[in-house]
Subunit: 295 residues, 2 copies
Amino acid sequence: MRDFDENNITAAVIDRFQNTPDPRLKRIMTSLVRHLHDFVRDVDLTEAEWAQAIAFLTRTGHTCTDKRQEFILLSDTLGVSMLVDAINHRFSKNATETTVLGPFYVENPPEAALGANIGVGVKGEPLYLDGSILSEDGQPLANAEIDVWHSDTEGFYDVQLPDLSEPSLRARFHSDAQGRFRFWTILPRYYPIPYDGPVGDMLTATARHPYRPAHVHFMISADGHEKLVTHLFVSGDQYLDSDAVFAVKNSLIRDFERQAPGVAPDGKKMDTPWRKLHNDFVLAKAVAKKSVPAA
Amino acid sequence: MRDFDENNITAAVIDRFQNTPDPRLKRIMTSLVRHLHDFVRDVDLTEAEWAQAIAFLTRTGHTCTDKRQEFILLSDTLGVSMLVDAINHRFSKNATETTVLGPFYVENPPEAALGANIGVGVKGEPLYLDGSILSEDGQPLANAEIDVWHSDTEGFYDVQLPDLSEPSLRARFHSDAQGRFRFWTILPRYYPIPYDGPVGDMLTATARHPYRPAHVHFMISADGHEKLVTHLFVSGDQYLDSDAVFAVKNSLIRDFERQAPGVAPDGKKMDTPWRKLHNDFVLAKAVAKKSVPAA
């Protein structure tokens, strides 16, 4: 086949994928080519714009390190991450709602004992967070794996701080026999997603702000249940209605209650004001997954 | 705005681009979001597939160096480069047809005198290539800038050979007062696009071969004319009908004529068989360009 023009080239490229052994991969590549070509035709993309797109994607790749994931940031800011999240979590409304993973999750965070303070030495308003991990029928889930991570009061995650050698404001807990968890940390603040790279340039060029409302990330896994990736958002935050990554759900906004100095639920004596949040997470029962293509 | 679902999130993301100062960029981002979201919905993308896509794009970025452009390769193998080429060259049929730039062009190749041999010391069948640069009305274009590059007989470009410190099979010529050019090189061979990276993995997973039919690249610029980016393909090549990057046009296939030992057109005495190609290039008159967005 030769001599393709702007109309027949799409069918020619799709035809080239006809021998793909994995039917799921074939379907994905076919749809990708169709939509990608439709986009290029729709905007009548110039060669200079194509070159800009190549340069943008290359810079985005070069910005990715073991501590920064610029492509996830791009997916987040284009609403793709939340769309994928929505498509994959058509669960019962009894389960806690999901939201984006974000680019700051680190695999295998340090294990911490229940009740530990994951913000030792970090400036900020102390926060006591406890609750239970439950199944949809209200049964407590013992030994659930609970990964927690969030930003400091300046809006930075530990991996963004070059002077920090240890993980901070990041840990893995396991729920006790009654499905309960509890820990100390500090109240997070709203923050900008990293905007010193290509995604930041895209936001600037399109007059978008880079801010996310304050939140604590959770990733919770328990046998026989869907992994829950979610946040709890701090009520009253000025960016709840314009989250740069479209991730806010009303069901995930919480009042992180202000407490006067006194005695905390775990008996700790507090000399300064602090915050308290009690929150139960409900995990959906596991559903069968589609297979994943090999490439 | 909060609580987006898989249907209303697209409008919400597009709305976020409403204040983009550059109307062209606004149009591109709007169309990109619409088509990207449609793709995700069409295939019901799983979270594992999304993570694979992020990892694939990241690897593609990390594979890009100053000598290798994996995103151009991806664009080429998905037919996007040829589609962009077609959209941007709706010129008169009198002009020489265009085809892809490819990932091996290097800016500002070494200047060479007309008649020079750009394949000194490179093994291969000698090739004498000459012709004229013309406008659509047949006028010769003097002092046209003619960039030439191609692979060796093993199928490698100079930038792929780590032991090579000097450019090879790559040069910039300028046409003479009569619009003519001439140079010596060697006959190129078909070759695989680099397939040791993510694009190669994509081709393998989809049972596609990585080969391109033998060709010589040209990029030709002359005042008042559209820049011409094209190849001349060697007739009879086994990959003319299945070029991995969809770039073959019948009008660009040439008989690189076999010659017996004897005297070449420039008087050079040839002791071994060699090849000859006389080819005129016709440049389209310059057309006004759309503006390019700033980001």
